[in-house]
């Protein structure tokens, strides 16, 4: 019985952590906050892999993983007094469908139209799912904040 809690997931976590660390420093984020965005990126990738193992559906795992890291960003950003979008921008990067997009382009210039269109469709679906997940968390937070001010 193979489980997703193995060394491979751990390595993916580390790679995503370091990649997002680089990405956020490249966007000129300063200080120890880069460690937190990196951690978010690692959680994003690792939770996606773990969810993918249990649900066996790419879109559902992307959706849940993005929701998880968006909640992470909303909480951590408020704790360290940083704009939330700074965190969200960095942590979603590991799931942005750059690879599917590239393969779609390869299929397109290789005249494999059927493969290309299915890959383009997949890219759009993943990008759309990421957007919906960000939207869900953003509106949920708005609601929570309003209620908090009301009472």
């Amino acid at each position: 019985m193979n489980t997703p809690w193995d060394i491979n997931t751990f390595w993916q976590f580390c790679f995503a952590f370091l990649a997002i660390l680089g990405f956020s420093m490249r966007s000129n984020l300063r200080g120890w906050r880069v460690l937190l965005t990196g951690l978010g990126g690692g959680i994003c990738r690792a939770s996606y892999l773990i969810l993918l193992h249990y649900t066996d559906s790419v879109l559902l795992s992307v959706f849940l993983a993005i929701i998880l890291v968006c909640i992470y960003s909303e909480v951590v950003a408020r704790l360290v007094k940083t704009p939330v979008s700074v965190f969200v921008i960095c942590v979603i990067i590991p799931l942005v469908p750059g690879r599917t997009m590239y393969h779609a382009m390869r299929a397109y210039i290789g005249s494999e139209t059927a493969l290309a269109s299915s890959l383009i469709f997949e890219t759009l679906m993943i990008a759309g799912t990421i957007s919906i997940a960000i939207a869900v968390v953003a509106s949920g937070t708005n609601l929570v904040m309003r209620l908090k001010h009301r009472f």
Binding site: F15, G22, S27, P83, V86, Y102, I109
Partner: protein, 264 residues
């Protein structure tokens, strides 16, 4: 009685807003910052309308004075450090607990000086930025299943692309062309590396390079702007994300095909 004139406050708020907008902040963040600056200096009557390319701001002092200004924002580059820093300063102005404010300066002077400092703040040295680009590209290559050799090559590609992005953005090119050129540079570099190392898998290296360019900022801001009700800004950023993506795909695809035809 407010401590500074309406015009001065308007200038300060516009300056603060345009720094955030230029650094890639979300629209409602810009509006919030300008609101906090004005209220912090005692002007409660604030209306603002922000699009990704410009700011409209109108401040009144309650009876007869009303100042409306427009600021056009030309350059936009990602600088999350400036957003963070400026938000911190504005919040401490709004909550009126400037612990860092020296006693001999007025709040206006202090805030003005902080704005100047943040605006002219130097980013990390170019070498560090390029190294971070190399790191991003290399580890994304590993993330998508690259080997150790491909990791090293992807780091070189990332370094060179980050360095060349700096010089391309000095030219008067738009976002589409900028990303198309950068993507084609990625393809040229990895194709020429494949001539040296026959065994490498080209895909992981190119994907690693492309991940530096993906428009995560535009996607995030587009969604968050739309959800907070700024439909104009949301749509504009969504189109920006689409244009950047098409630029990356067009650049890398065209260069791959050209290389195939010319060199084989």
């Amino acid at each position: 009685m407010p401590e500074i004139s309406l015009k001065r406050c308007s200038r300060l708020a516009l300056k603060a807003g345009s720094i955030i907008l230029e650094s890639g902040g979300a629209t409602n963040r810009v509006e919030l910052v300008m609101y906090k600056v004005c209220v912090g200096f005692g002007f409660d009557e604030v209306e603002s309308f922000v699009t990704p390319t410009g700011i409209f701001l109108s401040i009144g002092d309650g009876d007869n004075e009303l100042s409306t200004s427009i600021r056009r924002v030309e350059q936009r580059r990602i600088d999350l450090g400036k957003i963070t820093e400026l938000t911190r300063v504005v919040n401490c102005l709004y909550e009126d607990n400037c612990a860092a404010c020296p006693p001999h300066m007025s709040r206006y002077e202090y805030f003005h000086q902080e704005l100047q400092r943040i605006d002219t703040q130097k980013p990390y040295p170019t070498f560090v930025t390029n190294l971070c680009g190399a790191m991003t590209s290399g580890f994304f290559c590993l993330l998508f299943g690259g080997t150790a050799l491909e990791f090293a090559l992807a780091m070189v590609v990332g370094f060179l692309v980050s360095a060349s992005l700096k010089y391309i953005s000095l030219l008067p090119v738009n976002n589409f062309l900028l990303n198309a050129i950068a993507a084609s540079i990625i393809v040229i570099l990895s194709k020429s590396m494949q001539m040296g190392f026959e065994s490498i898998n080209l895909d992981t290296i190119i994907i690693g390079g492309i991940m530096i360019l993906v428009p995560g900022l535009s996607i995030t801001n587009a969604i968050r702007d739309t959800m907070s009700g700024d439909l104009v800004a949301g749509t504009a950023r969504g189109v920006e994300a689409l244009i950047i993506t098409v630029g990356i795909v067009a650049g890398s695809g065209a260069m791959l095909k050209l290389w195939e035809i010319l060199i084989g």
